[in-house]
Structure formats: C-alpha cells, structure tokens
C-alpha cells in the first residue's frame, strides 16, 4: 500500500520524531492562561530592536536556535528550514533565514503555517530527502495590525468577533528515526512522532468581513477534520484532542456546529489554540488569539507537554489560515480559508 490515504491524507511510513521544540511569546501572551508554559517571554513589543518587524524576525531566529538546542543538535545539523509568517513577502522568515544560514524554503499558509511546515517537513524526512530539519512560524501583534488593519495608535473600536494577533514564534526540530536520539532533557518523558499529514483544500463560504476570520476559517477547519477522519477511517474517539489553530470563540463554535451537522460530535476533545491562549474576560482580547504564532506557541508548548507526559496518546493539530490580503478585501473578494492537519502521536 502506498502512503496516500483517501483524497487528502498521507500516512508516513517511518514517522519522523519531534526531536525538539521551542516557544517564545510576548508580554500579553505571558499574562494569559498559558503564560507559564512558554520557553521564553520577551519584556516588551520591541525587545531592544528598532522596528517591530526586526523583533518578529528575532523571535523566529531565537525559536529555531532554541529548538535545535533542545534536540541536542549542534550548529549545522539542521539541513533545512521551513519557515513562514504573515508579513508581505514573508520577511520575518526571510531575514531569520539570513541570520541562521540554513538552506531555506519560505512557506505561506497564513495562520496555518505551523501545521503546513510540520506536514511538509515530516513528508520530506519520510521521503528520505533530509534527516533533520526545522519548521517554524511567527507573528507579532503590532506588525500584523499595521499591515492588515490600521495604525496601532488609531482610536478604533474592535468588534466583539475580532481576534487579537499573538506575538510569538514556535519552532519544531524534526528528525528521521535513523538519526533520532532521545534528548537528555527529555529523560523519562515520551518521544513524539508525526504520523499523518492531511493537506487542506481551500474552502470559502463567502465571508467578507476581515474582522471576523474565525467565521471565515471554520468551514475549512471542519472540512479538513472530517476529511481526515474519513481518509484514515478513524473516529473522534481515536484522538485525545483535535486542536484547531486560531478559530477563536466564534469560529470554534461554528466549527463544532458544522461538524455536528455532518454527524460528528467532538465534545470536549475539540480545542482551539486561539481560545486557549488568552482569557477573554480578563485580557480584552474579544474572540481570542490569532496569527501564525498563536497555534505555533500553543501546540509546541502545553499540548506537546501533554503528549510527552502521557496525558495524551494522539492528537490532531489543524492549523487554520485565512488566505486574504487587505487588497483583496478592499476589492470586495471574500476570504478563502484553509486547514492543514498533522497527527502528533506518542512514540515508544
């Protein structure tokens, strides 16, 4: 049997290991419910740089170096870097790759970039092209705000369904089974592998409001989850958690209802990184967190910990992305959305 399952899923023959992970986040994220879980917090939005864009790039660079260190890799071990972010021409990733000097594929999947990178990376390793690579994604509240919405000091009122772009970056070091050795820092804890990748399809149900991305992305997330379950002939019960990227409170409810309409009731197992990262009642973040960094820092911190500490055995991570630009929005286009899924499973 080949590696393809159904229409959109790949089952990896020799699942690569998640050898190391590193997360770094901003102050607001640090004050949130998961604040203690991140590897590093930055003291302010600029972190000693002269522009927010430079800060975002530095976040990513730091995360990549951190992930390599956590995997006990030495400099030069990483053979490939798969990186992306939200800014025009993915400059955070480009400048980070310049600083790191690792052979680099720039990727863009809007806020689904972390899942896209993990999926592509796992397939490249399983395909035998490289043994060690790093997948990473970043976002920064201020850089996203000025590119997608309005100047940061403008006195605008945010609608209740608006989400708050997360300042943060996460990086995952992936290794083939042939070269993987369990890092000393993880002694006594489980190894985690990437076993399946479900590539998303663009789904667009005509939402045009760029201030309501959760609603725009929910159908894409539901589509990928349902397709994944169908392709792998699994049920929700086979997963300890199904984690979407950044649907926020509104999109999370919509995704749940869309799945229910197809007869799949996920119950407590359906989680969303955008809902988990902030306390909406206390932090004035309205519908929750968003951005590439949102799912990257949540999945690679607390959720990875639950796998390593054997709270979870298997988890489906569905990165969700709104594939629009301010220009397409102003030209009256609706928001195309995508969900990429990877299965993270506890290894032996």
């Amino acid at each position: 049997m080949g590696k393809k399952r159904g229409k959109q899923t790949f089952a990896l023959a020799a699942p690569p290991y998640l050898a190391g992970a590193y997360t770094i986040a901003g102050t607001k994220e640090g004050e949130g419910p998961l604040g203690e879980c991140f590897d590093q917090l930055i003291p302010d939005a600029l972190w000693g740089e002269t522009t927010w864009e430079k800060t975002e790039s530095k976040l990513m660079t730091t995360a990549v170096r951190g992930a390599c260190q956590r995997a006990d890799w030495t400099e030069g071990d990483a053979e490939l870097l798969l990186a992306g972010d939200l800014l025009n021409q993915t400059i955070s990733a480009n400048f980070s790759a310049r600083a790191l000097g690792i052979p680099f594929f720039g990727i863009f999947g809007a806020c689904s970039t972390m899942a896209e990178g993990l999926g592509l990376g796992a397939m490249l390793i399983d395909g035998g092209y490289v043994d060690r690579l790093v997948a990473t994604a970043s976002s920064h509240h201020e850089t996203a705000e000025r590119q997608f919405r309005s100047p940061n000091e403008l006195g605008v009122q945010r609608p209740p369904e608006a989400q708050w772009t997360v300042t943060g970056a996460g990086a995952a070091a992936l290794a083939s089974p042939a070269v993987y050795h369990h890092p000393a820092s993880l002694a006594g804890r489980s190894a985690v592998t990437v076993t399946h990748v479900t590539v998303g399809k663009v789904v667009d149900l005509g939402v045009k409001d760029a201030g309501d991305m959760g609603s725009a992305m929910a159908p894409a997330a539901a589509h990928t989850i349902l397709t994944h379950l169908h392709d792998t002939e699994r049920t929700v019960g086979d997963y300890d958690a199904i984690v979407t990227g950044d649907l926020g409170h509104v999109g999370h409810a919509a995704c749940r209802a869309l799945m229910a309409a197809e007869g799949v009731v996920p119950g407590e197992r359906l989680l969303d990184c955008g809902v988990m990262i902030f306390d909406a009642s206390r932090q004035d973040t309205h519908a929750g967190g968003s951005g590439c960094g949102c799912s990257a820092v949540v999945i690679l911190s607390e959720l990875l910990r639950r796998l390593r500490d054997r709270c979870y055995r298997r988890l489906l991570f569905v990165g969700t992305g709104a594939l629009f630009s301010p220009m397409s929005s102003q030209q009256g286009e609706s928001i195309p959305a995508i969900g990429h899924a990877v299965v993270l499973e506890r290894g032996e």
Binding site: E153, G155, V156, Q157, V207, V250, A254, A257
Partner: protein
C-alpha cells in the same frame, strides 16, 4: 468526500452563524460615544468662550479653538492615550476634530520607521486623506447648490 456545507451560499452560512456571534453592545457604546463626544464639545465651547472673553471675534475664536483641540488630540495620541479612549468611546472620539488629529498623528507615528519621505510624508494621510478629499468635494457640491439657488 463532499460535505453538505460546501454547497452553502454566503446567505445560508450567514444565517447559520447568527446564533454564534456575540451581541454588539450598542446601548453601552452609544452612551460612551454620547458622553465622551459631548465632553469634547463642551470642552471646545469652554475654550471658545475663553477666547471670546479675551476679545477674539466669533470667527477667530473658532479657529483658535480648533487649533487647541487638534493639539489635544495629537498630544493624547502621542502619549498613547487616545487609542485607549477610542476603544471605549468609538464615534464619540472619532467624530470630533480631535479624532482627525488622532488619524493623522497615529499614521505619522506608525510609518516613521519607513523614513520621513516615503513613510511619514506619504502615509500620514492614509486615514485622514479620504476625509479631506470628500470634505472638499461635498463643500464644492453644496457651494454649487447655493450658487444656483442665488441665481
């Protein structure tokens, strides 16, 4: 694998979403806008009265008042207060002339890092520009109507 929701029209999906969207706090927003907007107007009237008392005529007094309100709006933007105010007050801080100052200064601050020519110079009016363009346009239209009525 096809799911029924893939075939939905935007209208069907909009109706489906209705129950999930949080309610907008219209009454609270309107109250905030009324009081903050009213406060700015009362402040403006106070400044205007002061200048009249100092001996300026109504026309010069209005110009001096506008200049001071614009300064206040710009200053509050510069020290990072105006966006906090706008978050609660909405139209109350957007509509008065201080909101115009906020739009210009916020853009100027934001794009300073792209340089003084293509940053500040070019982007300063990205938010306020449309107000100026359509303000001028509507004054021309109203002037024309006035002119035609006169003849």
């Amino acid at each position: 694998m096809a799911f029924s929701f893939e075939q939905w029209t935007p209208k069907v999906y909009r109706r489906f979403l209705q129950s999930m969207k949080p309610k907008r706090t219209i009454a609270k927003n309107a109250l905030w806008a009324f009081f903050v907007g009213g406060l700015f107007c009362a402040l403006g009237q106070g400044i205007h009265n002061f200048w009249r008392w100092q001996g300026l005529n109504a026309f010069d007094g209005a110009a001096a008042t506008a200049a001071i309100l614009v300064f206040i709006g710009a200053f509050l933007t510069g020290i990072g207060v105006y966006d906090q105010l706008g978050k609660h007050a909405g139209a109350g801080s957007l509509v008065p002339i201080t909101g115009f100052a906020n739009a210009v200064v916020a853009s100027a601050m934001e794009f300073k890092r792209e340089g003084y020519v293509f940053g500040v110079g070019a982007k300063m009016f990205t938010i306020a520009g449309p107000v100026i363009v359509y303000g001028c346009l509507s004054s021309v239209v109203i002037g024309l109507i006035y002119f035609l009525r006169m003849h």
